[in-house]
């Protein structure tokens, strides 16, 4: 309980710092949301009146205070570009990013764990070499390139999906999944490679420890040792890594969303930064911060479930 309260405190302090920093950065970078929104034809009067309306003439700290008090009441403000409440705009984008994250996570878990175990078990064999070369290769390919290659192969040549013909989850969920599976694969491939390598080295480290020898000497078969003894221990560092991956995919895959023209949070963030749409940027940054902190918190708890020793140490 005490632990949870402490974590909650960290969450609030972090959010506060992050929001202040974002606010501050937006003051420094060139560009102006009013000019960006009104364009070249804007008259001075129009710019002035919009500035007044958005409260941009107030001093920096007053504006930050106004924003903060809005957020406390659950009001993230209105987008300067779309003239719609930020919360509605984000609510429409969020499912895309979350489904993309869930789908790519499933792919990552389904493939990386068996492959990681396999490569550790078959040490020195051809299959380990294949896995190592493939992981090396896929880690080296930048995601945007991978996305374009996948679009070319599955979209243009094989015609398994129509590039760019994104179908909204509310229109047809099956077709929606059928489309986002490809960006999900794009996100998953390099992450699978990293997970496989991580799991493999973690397993190998464990396999050299004394308790493994003891387990063998008790007459256990390799499978038994691996699945009942080693895997659990090897998973602890992997879970930390997995947590980072989850936070990463939930934060929105900016580049992949751009390549596949997905209307997710990542693309929305980029578009809003170039529009200098401050309320939207701030809200998305806050969302990302919350995701990272909450996932870390959950991982913390998960550790204790897997390894009671960590629980006792606290």
């Amino acid at each position: 309980m005490k632990h949870i309260i402490k974590k909650l405190g960290t969450l609030i302090i972090t959010l506060f710092t992050v929001s202040f920093l974002t606010f501050f950065v937006f003051q420094i970078i060139p560009g102006d949301s009013v000019v960006a929104s009104l364009g070249t034809d804007a008259t001075k009067e129009a710019v002035d009146s919009m500035r007044e309306e958005l409260g941009l003439n107030d001093p920096f700290l007053v504006r930050y205070g106004n924003w903060l008090s809005g957020v406390v009441k659950g009001d993230f403000g209105t987008s300067t570009k779309y003239h719609q409440p930020v919360s509605t705009l984000i609510k429409d984008r969020l499912p895309v990013t979350i489904w993309l994250a869930v789908l790519s996570l499933i792919i990552i878990l389904l493939l990386s764990i068996p492959l990681g175990i396999l490569s550790a078990r078959k040490r020195g064999k051809l299959i380990e070499q294949i896995i190592l070369i493939l992981t090396q290769l896929t880690m080296a390919i930048p995601p945007f390139f991978l996305g374009i290659i996948l679009t070319l192969i599955f979209g243009v040549v094989l015609k398994w999906f129509v590039p760019g013909q994104y179908i909204s989850y509310s229109d047809n969920f099956a077709k929606f999944l059928g489309f986002i599976i490809f960006p999900a694969i794009t996100i998953a491939i390099p992450k699978i490679a990293m997970m496989v390598r991580f799991l493999r080295s973690s397993l190998l480290r464990q396999l050299n420890l004394d308790y493994v020898r003891t387990a063998y000497s008790k007459g256990n078969k390799e499978k038994n040792v691996l699945y009942y003894h080693v895997l659990k221990n090897a998973f602890i560092p992997v879970i930390t890594f997995l947590g980072m991956i989850i936070a990463d995919v939930l934060a929105g895959s900016i580049i992949v969303e751009q390549v596949f023209s997905l209307p997710g949070l990542g693309r929305f963030l980029v578009v809003s930064i170039s529009n200098r749409d401050f309320p939207v940027v701030q809200a998305i940054v806050m969302y990302i911060a919350v995701v990272v902190i909450v996932i870390n918190f959950l991982i913390d708890i998960l550790y204790q479930v897997i390894d009671p020793r960590i629980r006792i140490a606290k």
Binding site: L38, E45, H83, D92, I133, S168, R267
Partner: protein, 524 residues
């Protein structure tokens, strides 16, 4: 073991390269197949049919659904299908009556009378009344009692003093000062009086009705069955799909997800030439190397003239646009042919020696260093800048390209005028005055800081006169001043390359920035 490893690596490589070759082959085969089809195309009748739905790719998201609040050109080009004004542009750039059936401008240029067209209905089924007209004009001119601050009032419309109801058919727009060119600004949308949801469920009188809009995704419009021109529109549904960039649009065109895309690069157009009809039009922009006349060395007219001589415009067109597009000699584009002073094309012919002499006279015999600030989202302008840098080397001018984000460009270059030179395209609405007015010494759009008292005087006279011939002459004088002063290095009106699905007909170019879908149809 080592050998085995090596063998294995080779195997992988071989499989990989084979798969790439195979997929490339498949691609080629397809291309060949497709290229056979066009021969049958000519035999097909090109008669229009009714019905069908298409997807049009657009690059910019909409900034507002309310037509009076939208400012982005990318928004207005699609809103053209939903809304109509008292008048609207036709394909030749003339203003033709739309919601109004006829208009009359008083001889002193102060009173505009409009007659409401019979039987025009809003998308909600209600008949348009003169009260709706008055409301719309007042809303755009900022004359409503309760003004909504986010409505953008066009400076030209602030000249409207009052809107008067004459009878149930006619209204009069009374101006403070005479202006015979105001008609070009009266294309703004007519919307229902006191309708509150214009920003979420817009209602207009255009050939298509608003169906749905999702930010970052699409705007969907459907056929307006009650449209007063009973021949149009042909299509039942048009989806304007917002694409992330031209590259993803290109893939979507190849896969068939998009039927029409208006902003191809020259490379893309060449690659799509087999599978799409490529239409070439003009962007109707003045693309120039704009020089900040207030900073050194560009405050010296000789330097500006030297740069104008040093630039080979034809070579630029060849490099960036595959030779398409038109070069320009002054701050006007060819679509306004009535106002374009053609002789100015020959003032600065490409002449390196003359440029060098002028630089020497100006006190820069060895050239100088300069920075060209270019908005990075406009690849076309960036490409132009790259060619320019090479050309300027010949006269010893060392230009450096600085790419900035659009928002930074707007605030630093356009608004604060804190730059040395930039490449951009300047557009105009239907009035040629729009392109020339910005160079008045005090104009807010005069981002190049051009100052010439003669220019201000002539401009004032041109605006005030109600005699059309005199106006044309004065406009041409203004263009001549800009060219002779070498206010900037005028380059070209870039080509607009549009990919259109081969099954579609009727795509038309306008001298203004619109995507008219009412004239598009599926051929039989």
């Amino acid at each position: 073991m080592k050998k085995g490893k090596l063998k294995f690596a080779f195997l992988i490589l071989a499989v990989f390269s084979l798969s790439i070759v195979l997929s490339a082959c498949q691609d080629n085969m397809k291309k060949e197949k497709v290229s056979e089809t066009p021969t049958t195309d000519a035999n097909k009748s090109l008669e229009p049919t009714y019905g069908g739905s298409i997807v049009v790719g657009i690059l910019q998201d909409l900034d507002s659904l309310d037509p009076h609040k939208a400012v982005a050109a990318g928004t207005k080009e699609v809103q053209f299908n939903i809304f109509e004004g008292l008048v609207k542009p036709d394909v030749d750039g003339n203003l033709v009556p739309a919601v109004a059936s006829k208009y009359d401008i008083s001889d002193d240029g102060k009173v505009y009378t409009f007659t409401l067209r019979d039987g025009v209905k809003f998308h909600n089924g209600k008949l348009v009344t003169v009260d709706d007209l008055i409301y719309s004009v007042k809303r755009c001119a900022g004359l409503l009692d309760k003004t909504d601050k986010s409505i953008v009032v066009e400076p030209a419309l602030s000249n409207i003093q009052d809107v008067v109801k004459v009878d149930d058919k006619n209204i009069e727009i009374v101006l403070k000062e005479a202006n015979t060119e105001l008609l070009g600004y009266l294309t703004f949308a007519i919307i229902p009086k006191d309708y509150k949801d214009e920003a979420t469920k817009p209602i207009g009188t255009g050939p298509f009705k608003f169906e749905s809009y999702t930010p970052l995704e699409s705007l969907v419009v459907t056929k307006n069955e009650d449209y007063y021109d009973n021949k149009k529109p042909y299509l039942d549904k048009v989806t304007f799909k917002i694409v992330a960039n031209t590259d993803s649009a290109f893939l979507e065109l190849k896969s068939g997800a998009i039927d029409i895309f208006p902003y191809l690069t020259d490379d893309q157009a060449n690659q799509l030439a087999d599978t799409f009809n490529i239409k070439t039009g003009n962007m109707n922009l003045v693309q120039a190397l704009f020089l900040n006349n207030a900073v050194e060395p560009f405050n010296n007219p000789k330097v500006r003239q030297a740069l104008s001589y040093a630039v080979d415009k034809k070579a630029i067109l060849d490099m960036v646009a595959g030779g398409k597009g038109n070069t320009i000699g002054t701050n006007m584009f060819h679509a306004f042919s009535k106002y374009y002073e053609k002789s100015l094309d020959k003032v600065y012919t490409f002449d390196v020696q003359k440029a060098k002499d002028l630089l020497a006279e100006a006190g820069y015999p060895d050239g100088f260093d300069m920075t060209i600030t270019v908005p990075s989202n406009y690849q076309y302008h960036v490409d132009t800048a790259q060619v320019l840098v090479e050309q300027l080397k010949a006269i010893g001018v060392n230009a450096k390209i600085e790419q900035v984000e659009w928002a930074s460009w707007l605030s630093d270059v356009y608004t604060n005028r804190n730059y040395q030179s930039t490449i951009i395209g300047v557009d105009a609405k239907l009035a040629p005055r729009d392109v020339l007015e910005r160079y008045a010494s005090t104009a807010s759009g005069n981002f190049i800081n051009y100052k010439n008292p003669d220019y201000d005087k002539i401009l004032d006279k041109a605006i005030k006169t109600t005699n059309d011939d005199e106006k044309v002459t004065l406009y041409k004088e203004l263009e001549t001043l800009l060219t002779n002063d070498a206010a900037s290095v005028y380059i070209q009106d870039p080509p607009l390359l549009v990919a259109v699905n081969k099954k579609l007909g009727g795509y038309t170019f306008y001298p203004v920035y619109v995507q008219d879908m009412a004239s598009v149809y599926f051929t039989k």
